[in-house]
Every structure is written in C-alpha cells, then in structure tokens.
Symmetry: C2
Subunit: 580 residues, 2 copies
C-alpha cells in the first residue's frame, strides 16, 4: 500500500475526482479566478458532498475536521501541497494554552483578566491602558483574545482525550515577556505533543502524525495536491463548496452542505503581497512553500475585510536559503553560541543577538533616513572554533551546524581578515537582492573593535550595550554552550583571538504572516459591514490575527489555532444545510 | 452671493438633487454598502448625467475634471467635505516635475533613465540594482514611475497655459536625497503656483483658487457635502455612475457616460485601516479630515487589488492636535530652532532633529523588543528663549510659534526641573493613548547630559552622534535662526544654561497614506487579474503609489498627481459611452 497519508479512505473518491475532471475544467476556464460561480454553475455537477469542506492539512485543518467529525459531520480535507501538514509539519508545535488543565493541577492561577492584560500590553503597546475596560484593545481584538482564553484549553483537552493529540506539559518554558508585570502566569501555558523528543523540536511531525492518523480512523479523506481555486456561492450568496485543481490541472467541485473552512496559511511566499503589506522588507520564511496567500485573494474577491496585514510571526533567516526559496529552511528560533556576535556591513554590533526571534527580526528593518538604507538588513554572524565545537546543532534553525550537515551558508576564514574577504565575496554574489549591500572599507577594523568590546562584556557577564542574556527567554533559546563553572551569563564568552573563524549572512524573514480576512470569534469570515459571509470560515494564519505585532509566547501561533478550530467547527456544526 | 466655491454654476442642479433625494435614499437602505447596484437599479432614475464624474476636489479631482473638460467632455466634481480643496488646500503645493520646461530653459539635463534610477534607488532600496533593466523595480513600479516622467511636465504646462495653474520655477530647492550619486538633477524639478508667497507655504490655497476658478469658468459644477457611497455598475460590470449622500442623508444618483474618476485621498483618518495596514503606529495626520479611506472600501468591494498599503507620506505631528483630530493641524515639515533638541521619555537624544520629515517620522517607530515598547513614540522637543525669540513661525508646522498664536501645545518651565515637571503632567494627561508613556525617573539628569553633549557639538558645528545639519535638505527646512556670523552649521547653537525653557510633545503622523487600489499607468483601477474594472479610474492618494516607502523630493505627491490626472483624463476621454 502506498503512503497512508495519500491513500486510505480517500483513495477511491480521489480517483473518481480525476475521472470527472474534464467537465469541471471548462467551467474554471470560463469563470473569473476567485469570483462566485453563477447559480447555474452551482446547481450542477458536484463531484462529492460533505458537511464540511476543510482547506489545508496543517493543525488548523486537521483540528477543524476532527472537531467537526466528532459532532457527527462528514468532512474532507483538501491540501494544495503534495504532502500533508503544511507549516505545522515543520514546527516544534509548542502550543500556548492559557489556564490549561495542567496549570490547574499544578496550582498555577491564570485568571482571564490578567491574561487579557498581558496580551493587550503586547499587542497594542501604544494604546495599552490598564484602566480601560478592554485594556485599550478594540472590541474585536478583545473578543478574539478572550476566545483564545476560553477555548484553547477545552480544545486541547478534547484533542487529547480522543487520542488525536496527547500532550505533555512543559512547566518551565516561560512566556516571551515573562518579566512584564502584566504577566501573572509567566510559566505553565505551554503544552507539546506527548511523544515529542526532549528538545521538543519534532513536535510538528508528531502532531501531524497523530492528528492525521486519527482523521483517517474517523473517515476523513485527506486529498493532497488539491489546490482550491474558487469558492462557490449559491444565488443567495451562501458559500456552498469549492472548486479545486489537482497537479494535472483537473478540476473537482466539492459541495459543502454546512461550511467551507479555510486553514491554508498566510502569504509568506507571495512576494507581491509581502512587499505591499508587511511592515518591513522580508526575504522569505519557513512557512510551507504553498503558503502563497490564496485565501487573501479568494476571500477578498467575496468582499471580506482584510485586517492585521502589516504584521507577521517573524524570525531571522539565513540569506542563501531564503533567496533560494528552500522549502526545508527553518527560521532562526535559536541563535547558537556564546563566543559569537552579529555585526552589520559596517562591522558594528547593533543588536542583542539573543533577543527572542520575533523581536530580533524587527531590528533588521531599522531605516537610516539620511543614507536611505537599511544598515542592518543583512547581518553577519561571526563565531570562533569554541562555538563551532560546543554549540553546533541541527535544531531550531541554528546557523552553527554539526560536521556532515549542510553548511553551505557557512563562510570560513583562518583569520578575521580572511573571513572578511570571504564575506565580501559571498555578499557580492547576492548584491542583486540586497540593494548592493557590501562591507564598508573599515569593516575589518570595526569588526576587530566590536569583538574587543564584546569580549570585555563577556568577561564580566554584563553587556553594557545591548543587555545580552539579561532576560529569561534568552536563556531558553541559548542552545548548548561549553560549560564554564561559575559564570553568571551563559550567553557570552570572549571570541578567540586566534582563528579559524566562521560567519553566516542573516536577513529578516517570517514563520508566516498574520494578516488576512477578518473573522468573528467563531471563525466566520466577515464582510465590509462586519456581517458573516454565510458558510465561509477561516482559522490560523490565513485569517487576521488579533495579536497585532505581538508574539506572546512560544506556541502563540498554535494554541490560538486550536482554539479557533474548535470554535469554528462548533459554529459550522450548528449551520443548517444550505441549498445549492 | 454666498461663498463662490459653494455656489456658482452648480447651485441650481444641487437644489434639484436635494428635491429628488427621497427616492434615492430607499435604494441605499436596501442595497449593501459598496456593492454594485442591480441592473434594475442602474437602469432607473439618474439625477444627472456627465461624461465624467470626478470624486474629490483636491488637486487630483480639479485637474482630472479640467483635463477632461478641455477635451470636450462634461464633468462634475463631488466633494465629501463642506468646502473644496481637500488636503491640497492645506499644502504648500510644491510640485515635483521631472525634466520640466524651466529646467530645459535653464539647461539642466534630466534624462529619463537617470530619473528612474533615482526613484528606484529610494523606492526599493533593498532591491535596487543599477545593472537590472528596471533597476530592480517591478514592471508595474517601473511603468508607473516612467509615466510620471513622461506626463508630469506636459500636464503642468497645459494647466499653466490654460491659466488654471500658472507656476514659477524654484531652481534652488533640492531633492530630498540630493547627495545620492543616482540623483543627476538634484535641483530644478520643483515648481510652485506662481502667486504663492516667497516662503511658498500658501501654494495649496493659491492652486485651489486658480484651479477651481477655472473649473467654474469651464462649467464644471463642484458639489460640496456630497459623499460618494456607492459605485454603480451596469449588468456587464462597467462602472456607470455613483450614488452620493449629502449632509442631510439625501441620496443623489449621478450617471457617468465615460468614467468615474476617484481622487478622494487616503485613509489617514480611518483608525482601523491605519492600524491594520500601516507599517507603524500613527497618531493622525494633516490630510483633510474627510480622508477616511472610502475608496479603499468601495473599490475593494468591486474586487480591486490593494497595493502599497504599508506606507504613507509621513511627518511628525504635535501630540495634542493629532489626538484632538484638529483639522487645522499641519505636519511638522520644518523643525524650527538651532538651540533646540528632541529627547525621548528617558531624556535621551536619539535622532537628528533636522532629518527630512518623512524620514524623521520613521524613527518614532523604533521598537525595543526587550522592553516591548516604542521608546521614541513620544518625543519631547526642548528649546530655549533664543530659539523662541528668533525661530518662531506659523508656517510649515513649526512647533515654536509666535506670541499671540495658538500655543496650547507648548509646555513652559523657568528651569529644566520645572520644565520636566510640566512635561510629566502633560504626558500623564495623554497616558491613555500612549501606552502609559511617562518620563523616566532619571529624565531630568539625562536631559541635562543630553543638552551638555549637544552643546558641545553645537560649538564645533559637528554633531558626532547624528550628523545634524550635514545634508542640504536639512538646511532647506531649518527655518529662521538668529544670525551668527561665521558659523559653519546653522542648525545648531548651544542651549542656554538659564531659563525659561519650552517643550512640546511629538508623535508620528502622516500627510496622507500611499496605499489603495492598484491602477495601471492610465489611472484605470485593476482587479485581481490585473484587468481594468471598466469605467473606474483613480488618481492621487486614494490609489496605490508606486513610490514604495520613498519621499523623493518636495512635491513628490503633487507632481505625480498632476501627471496621473492628465493620463486618466486622456484615457477616460477615449472611452466609448457606456450603456446603462
């Protein structure tokens, strides 16, 4: 039998889709991309019918389909890529679940008002007001954040109880702003798939495996290679299904009696949308390569409001892999090494290298309005043999990688002067995508000075320029370093005055974007008048996040996704069946 | 006779609109905001018919209507506000016209490839490539910038020749990045209305007067208080008119035989759009208060693509007026005073105060990812009696204002300690809109240190921290300062060690936004497939600018607006009349 993910319950009907494809493809050629079908279209020839048609097979799609199925609905999952799991399959799959059952058992209080204060403080920092009834959030933001609090834990418990996603609690993982006075439960909100390895980096693979296995057991077909290209509406404007195209261009029309639920990811891999909406220049990201903003365009054509289009779940990424659109690329969630610094093209250290990844990525966007340039758009990580020997790792997107792994991004030099020459050569190759960024004439001497100053900080454990290692989240992502008994700050150690030296080029990127059609707290996609487009739902990174610019904690992506999948499935279950 | 702007040729038909309002208002109640009319609606009861219906009475609307009229078309202008001129009436109305006739007469060469290189360098700095055939721009960006080069000068000449907008050349005004090697014509591209005063600050009033006078002479009615709320399409999808609502809620339906041209400004005054699209937190701006993003929402509902939604024509603004949504507010185009600095809430000087306004505004967005705050979101301008006496002005949004003018934004103190206390009190009043921003405990001592360091720089004329006064554009906007024979840097003078002292609070703002529906080079609004929505045009800040983040020069707003008004009018003139 073939890959169980691609066959199983769905294989027979997938073959049927293929056979019927001829008639459907004429319809798609005649109709405008993304526009509603005419009533005549809608009444004709569906290739299959389900209560719920779920688009996307990452966590949001799998969870939405499972929650729907457990209420007695039929469901199908359509996945554009050739394999299942989307961005989830690449993730560590921490999931941030406020007031979860494990916290309760451990006696950790996490009252709703305090949770909302913490998220408001970070999502709307310029408008945060502890005295305001919604802490300065808009009603929509407040309600969406409240829905996460209310539903993430019941959703996680149900997934666990059904065997779709057993979890373990990781009580020591702090929120990303654990030091803020507004964070009254700085640890305890993070869960991971029970079978994840101790470092938790494979959580996504575990979750996709357990959730898709459960989906198949429940009779939910998962169709890969099926790109949804059209949302079908009946004459009354209710969404009643989709048209999808397979790898060979054959078109399938699938009827949704109750709802179409999109969970198709963001627009990380749509260069045009990125450039015209995101708040800074992004070079790519580690979202699944199929995350091209399809839902932004399809729902936009139905009149959906777009919201939070300016922000992304951000992280630095290695330049070469980002430019190559390498689908295997990980974001740099952990910046490895103690005897390691970042400098810019002027050889200057301009950032705390251990800043949490979402915040670190923002610092690459700093604009020099006199020179008309982004001085930190390409940064150079520099490390010595010590960090190479003791901090190499293939996990969490670290740039210091073990011998025998892909190290094409690593630049080497026996001396700092050699290293600078090699960096210069590498940057010249990429000049066409960096606005001609190259090392300044005084790079090597500035680099020497930057290292000397850093080494002084490393000796005392106090980074007087950027406070490296001062915050608990920086220790969480520090990775392995050579043990040095008694030192106070494990994130810093003097860089050796003897080579060899290593370097790598870093640019800003995303896990995925945060903007898209606005939904209500039940995942219903809203039109310009804040009215639901009947029958159309969205969850996850394909719709607008109410988090604004904030990355509240590890798992702040997947915890809310599970919550909204649960809420969307519940609301869709209550829909009356539509007329074609 | 009443205000000529509000009566004249249009008064009679305006009264007719009012009488017929009853029937129309039922239609608007029944139909969805922003959705197309049904065929039955469209076939019925238009209150008036013109070849062109132009929405907005700023420069883009007036010019589009005039250019249309001069080709023999009838046209009407619908203005949402109670008076005409939009943001234009508040502007200095410099207009940036590459390769203009005055340059040619003066022997200043401005070849098209060099012009395109300069705009590409600034609009897409991270992708600029002098070796690329489009210098790294997308085809659309390249074509749009080329259209500015091709048409701004013919458009300006025609407006001048017809007496609608006589101009004078200001050969000494530099581009905002005149020092860049890509700028081969660093001076000479700026024109201003001929009758503007020597400081040129009243150019917008002059232009609105001369252009609207000409429009009335040409028989173009200008209807104020008419908010377009609906774009009407015929059954084939062609735009054939609009529905507008007056101040009393009465609805008028106006037929456009050839085209509807929007020139209604951006979304500066739509808090929701600002927050969800712009690249940083904006407190408001000096666009006309009626610039609420109406066209983004109406054209979005017709399937228009949105582009460049992340950027704005930016400028700092005074906190109090921005929060009050004071329609009289000017952006801070000129930061007055030599014995004056900006500090943040920590008392630290973090920017070159004389940086050109668009670039200066960006620096307020800097994010501190460890503290989770914008440390420079509210800056405090501090000056002494010298600057108060010698640099006060009511022009260009300067904060140092003359005696007898509105100085409610000015905070005063006999000593620096007094001043700090007064600043603290003022900031406390605004805590609810600044995320609780308040002065740090060490503000007063840091302010002393910042002044001492600045005073050292002022004595030598060299700002070793931020290079204040090094660039020619900074001198352009320096304003009046006390003459000091022989000094090298007129932007700096030591701040007195004796009071009184003055301060004002500054936040980031916009002239107006830069994003909206994408058009082609003829102003035709494009759908998701890059096809024109038939009959629908847009020019100015209501549609997407191809400038990306760049503010190329003074007048880089109005020069392109004139060019695209000309091109849109020419293309619309060539349309065949539509069937209702």
């Amino acid at each position: 039998m073939a890959d169980p993910i691609r066959s199983g319950a769905g294989a027979a009907s997938r073959r049927r889709f293929m056979q019927q494809a001829g008639a459907g493809s004429a319809a798609v050629a005649a109709a405008s991309l993304g526009l509603s079908a005419t009533p005549a279209d809608a009444a004709q020839a569906f290739d299959a019918t389900y209560d719920m048609v779920v688009c996307g097979s990452g966590c949001g799609g799998l969870a939405s389909a499972l929650f729907s199925r457990w209420q007695g609905n039929t469901a199908v999952i359509l996945e554009k890529a050739g394999s299942i799991g989307g961005t989830t399959a690449k993730a560590a799959f921490w999931y941030w679940v406020p007031n979860n059952e494990a916290m309760k058992k451990a006696g950790i209080a996490d009252p709703k008002p305090d949770f909302l204060k913490y998220v408001a403080r970070l999502s709307n920092p310029q408008g945060f007001d502890p005295a305001h009834p919604r802490f300065g959030l808009t009603q929509w933001e407040f309600d969406m954040c409240g829905a996460i609090y209310d539903s993430a834990s019941p959703a996680a418990e149900l997934l666990a109880a059904k065997g779709a996603l057993p979890y373990r609690h990781v009580p020591d993982v702090p929120d990303y702003f654990a030091e803020l006075p507004e964070d009254k439960a700085p640890k305890g909100r993070v869960l991971v798939p029970a079978e994840a390895i101790p470092s938790m980096s494979d959580g996504g693979l575990v979750a996709v495996r357990t959730m898709s296995t459960k989906a198949r057991q429940e009779g939910i077909p998962i169709r890969t290679g099926m790109r949804v290209k059209k949302i079908l509406q009946n004459p009354a404007g209710r969404v009643i299904g989709v048209e999808a195209e397979d790898e060979l261009g054959a078109v399938t029309r699938i009827r949704a009696r109750k709802a179409v639920i999109f969970a198709t990811g963001g627009f990380t891999h749509n260069v045009e949308l990125r450039k015209n909406f995101l708040s800074g220049p992004i070079y790519g990201g580690c979202a699944a390569p199929s995350n091209e903003g399809d839902f932004v365009q399809m729902a936009g054509a139905l009149g959906a409001q777009l919201r939070n289009m300016n922000y992304a779940w951000s992280c630095p990424v290695p330049l070469e892999k980002a430019v190559a659109r390498d689908g295997s690329m990980s974001g740099m969630f952990s910046v490895a090494g103690d005897s390691m610094i970042f400098v810019n093209k002027y050889g200057r250290r301009t950032v705390n290298e251990k800043l949490q990844y979402n915040e670190l990525a923002q610092t690459f966007f700093e604009w020099d309005g006199a020179r008309a340039e982004y001085p930190n758009l390409v940064r150079i990580a520099v490390w010595d043999q010590r960090s190479q020997d003791h901090s190499a790792s293939a996990e969490y997107g670290r740039l210091i990688v073990p011998p025998g792994t892909d190290d094409r991004h690593v630049i080497k030099g026996a001396t700092l002067a050699d290293l600078a020459r090699a960096i210069d050569e590498r940057m010249a190759k990429y000049a066409g995508v960096t606005g001609g960024a190259k090392l300044s004439a005084d790079f090597a001497s500035n680099l020497q000075a930057s290292i000397a100053r850093f080494n002084g900080f490393a000796k005392t454990g106090k980074d007087l320029d950027f406070k490296r290692g001062d915050r608990v989240v920086e220790l969480l992502f520090n990775g392995d370093v050579k043990e040095e008994p008694g030192r106070s700050n494990p994130t810093m150690w003097p860089i050796s005055d003897a080579g060899p030296y290593y370097a790598a080029l870093i640019v800003p990127g995303t896990l995925d974007t945060k903007g898209g059609p606005k939904t209500d707290t039940h995942g219903r996609v809203l039109d310009a008048r804040d009215q639901p487009i009947p029958g159309l739902y969205g969850v996850g990174n394909c719709v607008a996040s109410a988090s604004g610019r904030a990355y509240w904690a590890g798992g702040a992506t997947l915890g809310p996704i599970i919550a909204f999948s649960y809420r969307a499935a519940n609301a869709a279950h209550a829909e009356t069946a539509s007329a074609a």
